[in-house]
């Protein structure tokens, strides 16, 4: 963090030739990157949505279960709500780890296809 791109780029210079987009999209490494991303992001999203909406659904439809004390006065409802914070942080942590892998894959796609991708890769250390 905190590093800046070293050279100034005119935005006009960055317009990539139309064929480059298709070349990247057709590349097998790019397809691997998309598959790897989907493999993490789809299940993670489904999991956090199910886990999160279980809370209002149970609070709304099974209030007696949620009112059961677990530790002293702390009941299922409050502990479940607290666990949401832990789960959200855990998913964010796992995503950060997976994403550094995605970054490397994206960098390698562009490097192998030798398309313009200046400054960013060396800046993001």
């Amino acid at each position: 963090m905190g590093s800046q791109p070293k050279m100034h780029l005119d935005p006009q210079q960055n317009i990539t030739a139309a064929t480059d987009w298709d070349r990247v999209a057709a590349n097998s490494e790019f397809k691997d990157l998309m598959a790897a991303k989907a493999k993490f992001i789809v299940p993670a999203t489904v999991f956090f949505l199910v886990y999160y909406f279980a809370l209002p659904a149970l609070v709304g439809y099974a209030p007696e279960l949620m009112k059961k004390p677990v530790i002293g006065p702390l009941n299922v409802a409050y502990l479940f709500a607290l666990s949401q914070f832990v789960v959200a942080w855990a998913i964010a942590f796992l995503y950060m780890r997976a994403a550094s892998h995605f970054d490397a894959m994206a960098k390698s796609v562009l490097a192998h296809l030798n398309v313009q991708k200046k400054s960013e890769s060396e800046a993001a250390k």
Binding site: P11, G60, M66, L110
Partner: protein, 525 residues
């Protein structure tokens, strides 16, 4: 002069200093609108947290928990979990594909003029809801805080309005970002301090604290505040809870003033890092609302709060009870700072949207205008937005509930903005007609349902419209969010296949996932 006033003036002097510093560095459009894209991940994360923890969080949630216990804590949970949607789905593609506003991503593949015009309407609507909540919060706080200083609700609202215009007009995004950072640090420090005092009151024993929370005296009854059901009751309570959850979890990723923050960093990776920083700060803050809200319920008591400023004043009154007048002044000035910073953030996103989407792209057909002209238009918009929200806040008066107004802003954002953002990024077939119908249906349905809900309609004489509510839920999300998606879907399927949109989909997909061609940061001076 009273202590709170002095503390507040100190904050104003510091922030105006930041604005002066930023004004020297805000030449050019990218510098003005996106702070030159040179904000670091940690700085932006703190600023995102600052933009997010508004009057509704600090004053509103503490108040709801103090009055309705566990059900209020459901807001806290939703506010944090919402950032997973931002992190996993929206932040990185948005940073890679866009330039200054949310509409950049929508206009990427589609016909830019209608899409930008409609996205600007939606942005201004969401920002206005959010803004009114902050202005009303500021006015209410003043009424309690500066009692006897001669500053009334109306003057407080005018003062906040003028300051926010000053930050935005002179300092642009850079000043606004640093005001957020200062405010976020103060807010978290104040919250931690207040939580420690609450724990100290219970001899640093969590079990003593939670015992008290489970036996709160409410009039003659003893109520367990840890049990759900004090706010959301049958028959519609369960649906209302799910509806609120949907609005929070899907709405955050559609809030224009949060989305623009991701343009202030150099690249998508930094955008990701900033979301994670924001999640750490926001998570800690919302867990601590346990102590603010339950602390106010047990130590101060509902009855006293109701007679001394009402629900929204729970946190400041708790501070007064535990730390005396000086601490009360400290916490209240933090609440002020919070409001001021959020209002500045909203103003800059609204004025950026008008200058970039409407002025440059709709009026001038996307022909690049000189940076001076565009920035001038943004500054004029900031003036107008400030003036209009001062007027609305004065007309509404100090009694409107702030947390609730913000909940509605989330519902509008989730219904109108999120469906079209998701379809733009993930659906190849998506067309301009689909985007327009998604935005229109989402916006119209959420607003219409709010108007006929128990928030606006009621027969007790306290509501804007005196009749039995036609729609039973407080929050329209559970109906209006699916309708927004359906609107965008049907609009797309009824229009013919757009080859340009499909071809540009490949470009957007590559750009969003590799950062190829994305906007670069300005070089260091």
């Amino acid at each position: 002069m009273s202590t709170p006033l002095v503390m507040f003036l100190v904050f104003i002097v510091i922030t105006l200093g930041i604005t002066y510093w930023a004004a020297q560095r805000s030449a050019g459009a990218s510098a003005y609108f996106a702070a030159g894209r040179r904000i670091t991940g940690m700085q932006n994360g703190i600023a995102v947290a600052g933009d997010y923890m508004s009057a509704a969080s600090f004053l509103g949630i503490a108040g709801i928990i103090a009055f309705q216990g566990y059900d209020g804590f459901m807001y806290s949970v939703g506010f944090l979990v919402a950032y997973l949607t931002v992190l996993l789905i929206v932040a990185e593609p948005l940073r890679n594909a866009g330039k200054y506003t949310m509409a950049d991503v929508l206009a990427y593949r589609l016909s830019p003029r209608p899409v930008r015009a409609m996205a600007a309407v939606s942005t201004l609507t969401v920002s206005t809801f959010y803004m009114i909540a902050q202005m009303v919060g500021a006015g209410t706080l003043v009424a309690l805080l500066l009692k006897g200083s001669g500053i009334s609700y109306n003057w407080a609202v005018i003062g906040v309005g003028i300051l926010m215009v000053a930050y935005v007009v002179f300092g642009g995004m850079l000043a606004t970002t640093w005001v957020q950072i200062v405010k976020a640090v103060l807010l978290v420090a104040g919250t931690v301090l207040l939580s420690i005092l609450v724990l100290a009151h219970f001899h640093f024993s969590l079990s003593e604290f939670f015992d008290a929370v489970s036996h709160v005296k409410d009039g003659a009854k003893v109520v367990n505040f840890l049990e759900p059901g004090l706010r959301y009751k049958p028959p519609y309570g369960a649906l209302d809870l799910i509806s609120l959850g949907l609005a929070l979890v899907l709405g955050t990723a559609g809030l224009p003033h949060i989305l623009v923050r991701f343009y202030t960093v150099p690249d998508a990776k930094t955008a990701r890092v900033s979301v994670v920083w924001a999640m750490v700060i926001i998570g800690v803050f919302y867990i601590l609302t346990t102590f603010l809200g339950f602390g106010a319920a047990t130590i101060v008591g509902k009855g006293f709060i109701a007679k001394n400023g009402g629900q929204n004043m729970s946190a400041p009154l708790l501070a007064q009870n535990l730390g005396g007048d000086i601490f009360f002044a400290f916490i209240s000035s933090i609440a002020f700072a919070t409001i001021l910073a959020v209002v500045a953030g909203l103003t800059i996103s609204a004025s950026t949207s008008f200058a970039h989407d409407v002025y440059e792209n709709v009026i001038h057909h996307g022909e690049a205008q000189s940076a001076e002209k565009t920035v001038l238009v943004a500054r004029i918009t900031a003036f107008v937005v400030g003036f209009v929200s001062i007027l609305i806040a004065i007309v509404l008066g100090p009694t409107f509930n702030v947390a609730f107004l913000v909940g509605l802003a989330f519902a509008v954002a989730a219904s109108a903005n999120l469906p079209v953002i998701l379809f733009s990024i993930f659906w190849k077939r998506f067309t301009t007609a689909g985007a327009i119908s998604g935005l229109v249906v989402g916006l119209a349905c959420s607003l219409a349902l709010i108007i006929i809900s128990p928030s606006i309609m009621g027969t007790d004489g306290k509501h804007l419209i005196n009749m039995v509510p036609l729609f039973p839920l407080e929050n329209p999300g559970i109906i209006s969010i699916p309708l927004g998606f359906i609107g965008a879907f049907i609009g797309t399927m009824m229009s013919k296949v757009d080859d340009n949109s499909a071809a540009k989909f490949t470009e957007l997909e590559v750009r969003a996932n590799t950062g190829l061609g994305s906007e670069k940061a300005l070089a260091a001076h």
